[in-house]
């Protein structure tokens, strides 16, 4: 079904390119000739505040996407390395929220009683929290440390309740079905029932929810970097690049346009694909 959809195919192709960039970043920058941290003072004009020489933000044969104002770092190399950061962080966060959300959601839905009470109140509490304010407040006052890991932990800590809520509801329905009753009657323990009988039946929802979460987390990572609490310099991330382009957008719009376009297209592609997968799962369930 995916094969017939040109839009979905285009999205898939774009994502493949981004993933390839991320995986092969060192190789690609060897080809393009500039590393992500390498300065090129000759490419910018110090007397004019560091604006890149040449049109379109200094796009040229040696700098394919132009250069960063002031220090002349190669934008192509930074986009390629930035893809690494965005993808690693969003995938790790998705994995962690997935595990937390599914396990806690199932436990709450299956055992009910005080387990459900504790987990549900925790979810209420976390969802009432102004997550963005809190995330940047925490990140900005924590010592630099290992930023990517911190980002993943913080994003996941506030992200899992949204998945857990859905999983809990579905588990509650499933727990009353005959096959679960049958498994119980045949003497299976609680945990066995949860992971052997219920989990496989949640596959569809989990796939849909997590695919749709990835673009959200890419956006969140970029947003946090945009607000200055993301990855620490000199590491490149798309959000960090957009943030540093803010003051330059009227003089050097390309500096903003390039990372902005990559971020937008990546999120769009993931959303479109997630949407398609959802339709497929829905129809599969209905059939």
């Amino acid at each position: 079904m995916l094969k017939k959809d040109k839009g979905a195919l285009a999205c898939l192709a774009f994502l493949a390119i981004v993933v390839l960039m991320a995986v092969a970043a060192p190789l690609i920058t060897k080809l393009s000739g500039w590393g992500p941290y390498q300065f090129d003072s000759a490419a910018t004009n110090s007397d004019l505040g560091g604006v890149p020489h040449g049109a379109l933000g200094g796009i040229s044969g040696s700098h394919w996407f132009g250069v960063e104002p002031q220090n002349g770092r190669d934008l192509f190399a930074r986009i390629v390395y930035g893809a690494r950061v965005s993808i690693t962080i969003s995938l790790s966060a998705t994995l962690l929220t997935g595990i937390l959300g599914v396990v806690l959601g199932m436990l709450a839905g299956f055992y009910r009683g005080w387990v459900d009470q504790v987990i549900s109140r925790l979810m209420d509490f976390l969802m009432a929290f102004p997550a963005l304010i809190f995330m940047i407040a925490i990140l900005s006052s924590l010592p630099a440390g290992n930023r990517p890991v911190l980002l993943v932990v913080v994003i996941s800590a506030f992200g899992w309740p949204y998945l857990a809520r859905v999983i809990r509801g579905q588990t509650m329905t499933l727990a009353n079905r005959e096959f679960v009753e049958a498994a119980r009657a045949s003497g299976a323990k609680g945990t066995q029932v949860v992971f052997r009988e219920i989990l496989p039946n949640l596959r569809g929802s989990i796939v849909v929810m997590t695919t749709l979460a990835i673009p959200g987390y890419i956006g969140t990572e970029a947003g946090l970097s945009f607000l200055g609490v993301g990855v620490s310099p000199p590491t490149a991330s798309w959000g960090q690049m957009i943030a540093s382009s803010v003051s330059w957008y009227s003089v050097d719009p390309m500096f903003f346009a390039i990372p902005g376009a990559f971020l937008f297209l990546t999120v769009l592609s993931l959303t479109v694909l997630g949407d398609k997968i959802r339709t497929m799962v829905d129809q599969g369930v209905a059939a």
Partner: protein, 327 residues
């Protein structure tokens, strides 16, 4: 019903208390010492100690937390500085009571939130409805494609693009400034237009998709077909039997989204330089001004929790099935 409401309000207080305590504990260790802040650039360890004494910073954590809670109701004294009730703390970086900082900025955030909400409700619900009625046509397909795109634009990217095109290049709008409506209605409108649009786009697209699928679902349900079979007119059915059930879930989501925004649209306000709660949050985080961060977090949580309750009550009123269960 009254018991239900009271119970909900009780849980609101509990959650707010939990948010309060949690934030307090987290930032207690992480934030800079207010005594050092007050002490200024030419400070000696002795002076820091004497200021800590005056401010009660030497007391155990829990009694300080108790002081903070008490301050909300009866006000508080910080050395020679008095902070009247409701005292949410005192910012020693700006020399202002946090309460007055918040009340000065709340109108801006409310303006941003209300304007955006009106826009996204109108655009989202109408767009979704038209798409549902014209399901499968080119209008439906392009509207839904557009909605997917709209959901995917990070709002700061959209904000910067709009600012570049409309303000810098075409110069049809001024740089946003938090002008009051009374002073200059035209500049007021022009200033808030971009923030409204930027905030509304993401929500409008979500709502359009949601409305469309809800309406399509209801249109295919049995009672709708029954109503039709009874010979009721198209528009009446649409209003009474399709719209109402389709829009009830929207109300729920809208309540939550809107409440979330009242606590400040952090990114939008920051990008457009609007001095609302969101920008206050960003600024105080940048300065690590703990009392303000605390208060803003609390305020945002307050709106969300209250929003939750209102939505629940509204939901009960809108959907008779829930009413039976809850009473």
């Amino acid at each position: 019903m009254t018991r239900y409401v009271l119970g909900r309000l009780g849980s609101v207080v509990l959650i707010l208390l939990a948010v309060c305590l949690f934030t307090y504990l987290i930032f207690f260790k992480l934030s800079p010492d207010p005594a050092v802040m007050i002490c200024g650039k030419t400070c000696t360890p002795d002076r820091i100690d004497s200021i800590r004494n005056v401010l009660g910073l030497n007391q155990p954590l829990l009694s300080q937390f108790w002081e903070f809670l008490r301050g909300i109701f009866v006000g508080r004294q910080y050395g020679s500085v008095h902070c009247p009730a409701p005292c949410l703390g005192y910012s020693f970086q700006t020399n202002e009571s946090v309460w007055s900082m918040i009340t000065a900025r709340l109108p801006v955030s409310v303006t941003v939130a209300v304007g955006a909400a009106v826009l996204w409700l109108l655009a989202g619900v109408i767009g979704g409805l038209v798409s549902a009625i014209k399901q499968g046509t080119w209008w439906d397909r392009s509207a839904m494609a557009l909605a997917l795109g709209g959901v995917s634009v990070p709002n700061y990217v959209l904000a910067l693009v709009l600012q570049y095109v409309l303000v810098v290049k075409l110069q049809v709008l001024p740089f946003p400034a938090a002008v009051s409506f009374v002073d200059n209605p035209v500049v007021w409108f022009e200033s808030y237009l971009m923030p409204w649009v930027v905030l509304a786009v993401g929500y409008a697209c979500l709502y359009a998709r949601l409305t469309r699928s809800n309406v399509i679902d209801t249109l295919s349900e049995n009672y709708y077909r029954t109503a039709r079979a009874k010979g009721l007119s198209g528009s009446l059915i649409m209003r009474r039997h399709a719209l109402r059930p389709a829009l009830t879930p929207i109300t729920t989501i809208f309540g939550m989204d809107f409440a979330g925004l009242l606590g400040g649209a952090l990114i939008t306000e920051t990008v457009f330089g609007l001095n609302g709660i969101g920008k206050l949050a960003a600024d105080s985080i940048a300065k690590n001004d703990q009392p303000v961060i605390m208060a803003v977090t609390l305020l945002a949580a307050f709106f969300v929790v209250i929003g939750n309750v209102v939505v629940d009550l509204l939901y009960t009123a809108l959907d008779p099935r829930v009413r039976v269960v809850s009473t």
